[in-house]
């Protein structure tokens, strides 16, 4: 049986889709069978970030409505043999995803994969609650910024009440992934510190992904950032996070700014 991960945040634009693609590729790189599932019906983007946008024939809604079989809708990644994508549909009908339909698809997927990673839409509406419904692990993606932390706190409350695990009286294993971490602003004291966010949300830390042009560059190419340039700082952060998900006990590194003497002087004076 697969482990089911939901990547969620409440707030939009914090890096859920980037994270889904990056963790999916990082886990698949270790040889595990991984499927990433886009729950953002009407506004799909995971296909684009994975570089598979031109190979979408059938989607999640087609499978639920019986217009396609699951294997027909799954898209195999061009770079990693064990990585698959189930795209969302572009239909405007948000009710196209039904509880029973999602249950059936997730159940089928978890029989054939080691990891099922659900990319949640922003918000706390139906799409988001359906995406978290089956979660064993929730990766709560948060930026060190007030509105993102507030929305994450809200999402944590929903994870504790509206998931299948919560209904069974169990708890979802929730992990915090701090993204768009800016070491320069952190040093200047203008960004919430990692400890602050951890203290406020009281979640265990899965990793810290630094703000980096590498993320944008990888998305331009349609390659998950964790495999685009594996030596880049965000790639290392995501690959380490994947190892933690697999149970490795790995210390989390807080990104530091890399500045020469001149840069240090400029930063203080800025």
């Amino acid at each position: 049986m697969a482990k089911i991960i939901t990547v969620t945040s409440g707030k939009g634009g914090v890096g859920k889709t980037t994270t889904t693609a990056a963790l999916g590729a990082a886990l698949a790189r270790t040889g595990d069978k991984v499927v990433v599932v886009d729950f953002d019906v009407g506004l799909r983007n995971l296909d684009l970030i994975m570089g598979a946008e031109r190979r979408v024939v059938y989607d999640f809604v087609n499978v639920i409505q019986g217009d396609a079989r699951l294997p027909q809708a799954l898209i195999k990644d061009k770079r990693l043999d064990s990585l698959f994508l189930l795209p969302a549909s572009q239909t405007r009908d948000k009710d196209a995803l039904t509880e029973e339909g999602v249950d059936k698809v997730i159940e089928d997927l978890s029989r054939h994969f080691d990891w099922v990673i659900c990319d949640s839409p922003a918000g706390i509406e139906r799409g988001a609650t359906l995406a978290m419904r089956h979660a064993d692990i929730a990766v709560v993606v948060t930026n060190p910024e007030v509105s993102s932390v507030r929305d994450s706190d809200r999402i944590v409350g929903i994870l504790d009440s509206k998931t299948l695990k919560a209904e069974r009286g169990e708890t979802v294993d929730k992990r915090l992934l701090l993204t768009r971490y800016d070491a320069v602003r952190a040093a200047r004291g203008d960004m919430l510190k990692t400890e602050d966010v951890l203290d406020i949300l009281s979640l265990p830390l899965l990793g810290i992904v630094p703000e980096s042009p590498d993320v944008l560059r990888a998305s331009n190419f349609g390659v998950p950032v964790s495999i685009h340039d594996p030596d880049s700082a965000p790639a290392r952060a995501y690959n380490d996070a994947a190892r933690r998900l697999k149970g490795e006990d790995l210390a989390v590194e807080v990104p530091k700014q890399k500045l020469g003497l001149f840069g240090k002087f400029l930063r203080r004076a800025a």
Partner: protein, 90 residues
């Protein structure tokens, strides 16, 4: 901002932290997100209401987490001037 101010202020992060802590403790109470706090609140309400009339909204429970000590703050508002003898007898 002047160079002088830049060098000797602590940045805006502490403000963010403080505002969030206040806001979230309030929102968790309202939304019943934090299980421990909402059940504590129910227990306290039941205990107080046995002796004095008291409404649900007038019980406030806050938990400030910290090391080495956390503080549990309980505030119960009771309407009017409470007659101590009467409440004991009730």
């Amino acid at each position: 901002m002047t160079l002088w101010k830049r060098l000797f202020t602590n940045g805006s992060a502490p403000q963010a932290r403080e505002r969030l802590q206040i806001l979230l403790s309030h929102e968790r109470q309202m939304l019943g997100g934090d299980d421990l706090l909402s059940s504590l609140r129910e227990d306290i309400l039941a205990a107080v209401a046995k002796r004095v009339p008291c409404e649900r909204d007038s019980v406030k429970v806050r938990l400030e987490r910290g090391t080495p000590m956390s503080v549990l703050e309980i505030e119960v508002e009771i309407r009017g001037n409470v007659d101590l003898r009467m409440t004991q007898a009730a």
